[in-house]
């Protein structure tokens, strides 16, 4: 269990007055408060740290204990046994105001020295029957691009509960979908919170996705590019035959309408597929081919 320097966390020295501590804490709290840094895990971690530091240093009794024993806290168990009764003191009366964020999430060092916190402000049984909506929960779901080509149902286990949800086709990487009523339990019979699912979508296919459109490059042999013909190409969900126009240039693009990715929440609507032709110049040509190319070259002097 590592010693935590609460003075360093708040950026103050050991001689700091109660006013200095409050000022330093408030300044850092304004910077890292979770309400002002939504979805920022690093800010949340920093906030918990400063919250913990404030909880210790803003209380004279805690501060004294920390200053006296903090660095020697290797003997935590002995100390705990000797002071077991003292540890029963009520902490709930002088806790940080940030009850909704810090509750029960303290460092081992803190827990060992001061024990767990006993209550938090706000959403407690002291609410006198007021109904509160439950907490919103956040989860992330990793899928492959192929998984979101079609709308399908999937069962997720979140906080030990199985939730069956419909994943709409065309959901995008980084998109957040709110599932109403699947968050934390409400308080005093209040409604449940929501579940926010962030989708992380990996594309392992040869297709590149741009909005709802797909892009791919296919090789085209020189003779088909010059003379034209027919080829079979892969689309995202099958194959199609394509006519190649004579004299097709390298880098030429064709658009296959409606062969792209499904449009999110627009059933039956698809983006387009863009195919870029990459004309392949033959390698290891024979003497005969060389002669013929030379003849062709003579017909088109540059």
């Amino acid at each position: 269990m590592a010693f935590i320097d609460y003075y360093k966390i708040l950026g103050i020295d050991k001689s700091a007055s109660a006013g200095d501590i409050k000022k330093a804490y408030r300044k850092l709290a304004r910077k890292y408060h979770p309400d002002l840094n939504p979805s920022d895990k690093e800010a949340e971690r920093k906030f918990k740290e400063i919250n913990e530091a404030n909880e210790v240093l803003s209380d004279p009794e805690n501060r004294k204990k920390y200053d006296e024993h903090g660095k020697d806290w290797k003997h935590a168990e002995e100390f705990e046994r000797a002071n077991q009764q003292q540890r029963q003191y009520q902490r709930g009366q002088q806790q940080s105001p940030f009850g909704d964020f810090g509750g029960g999430d303290y460092s081992d060092f803190f827990e060992s020295m001061f024990g767990g916190r006993t209550s938090s402000r706000g959403r407690t049984s002291s609410g006198g029957g007021v109904k509160f909506r439950g907490q919103d929960l956040n989860a992330s779901l990793n899928l492959n691009l192929k998984d979101v080509f079609e709308t399908h149902k999937r069962t997720l286990t979140i906080n030990g509960k199985n939730i069956r949800l419909t994943i709409p086709a065309g959901v995008k990487n980084g998109q957040v979908i709110k599932i109403k009523g699947h968050g934390g339990e409400g308080i005093n019979g209040g409604p449940k919170g929501d579940l926010n699912i962030t989708f992380s979508i990996e594309n392992n296919t040869k297709f590149k996705l741009d909005g709802d459109n797909l892009h791919t490059t296919i090789d085209l042999d020189l003779y088909k590019a010059v003379l034209g013909g027919e080829i079979t190409v892969d689309t995202f969900d099958g194959k199609v035959k394509l006519k190649i126009a004579p004299e097709t240039q390298n880098g030429a693009k064709v658009k296959l309408k409606g062969k792209g990715f499904p449009v999110y929440k627009k059933e039956g609507s698809f983006g387009d597929l863009y195919i870029t032709y990459q004309v392949i110049i033959p390698k290891n040509i024979s003497e005969k081919e060389k002669q013929l190319f030379a003849e062709l070259a003579k017909l088109r002097p540059s």
Partner: protein, 97 residues
């Protein structure tokens, strides 16, 4: 209007130890909408997350009502920009590999 879906402001004042004028101020500035349900001033339960956030900003960070309005506007802008970044990042993936 179903009373079930509304929370009386009086209860919130007692619970969070804030003055009714705080909610009136939020209402005046357009951050919340106070509804009259069975002669008591209430807010819709769906707004409780935002309202709790406003209360925390006010009580914990000493931010006044105008400051809360600014913070909410900026947070909304951050949210929009984050969504834009996601869209742009997804487009950039086309040029990767």
């Amino acid at each position: 209007m179903s009373k079930e879906k509304f929370i009386p402001l009086q209860k919130l004042c007692e619970l969070y130890k804030v003055e009714m004028s705080f909610f009136s101020g939020l209402n005046d500035i357009g951050l919340i909408q106070i509804s009259l349900v069975e002669e008591s001033h209430c807010i819709h339960q769906d707004k409780i997350n935002d309202i709790e956030k406003m209360i925390r900003m006010h009580l914990d960070l000493n931010i006044n009502i105008e400051g809360i309005d600014i913070a909410f506007n900026l947070l909304q802008k951050i949210d929009e920009l984050e969504n834009e970044i996601i869209t742009i990042k997804n487009r950039l993936r086309i040029y990767e590999n």
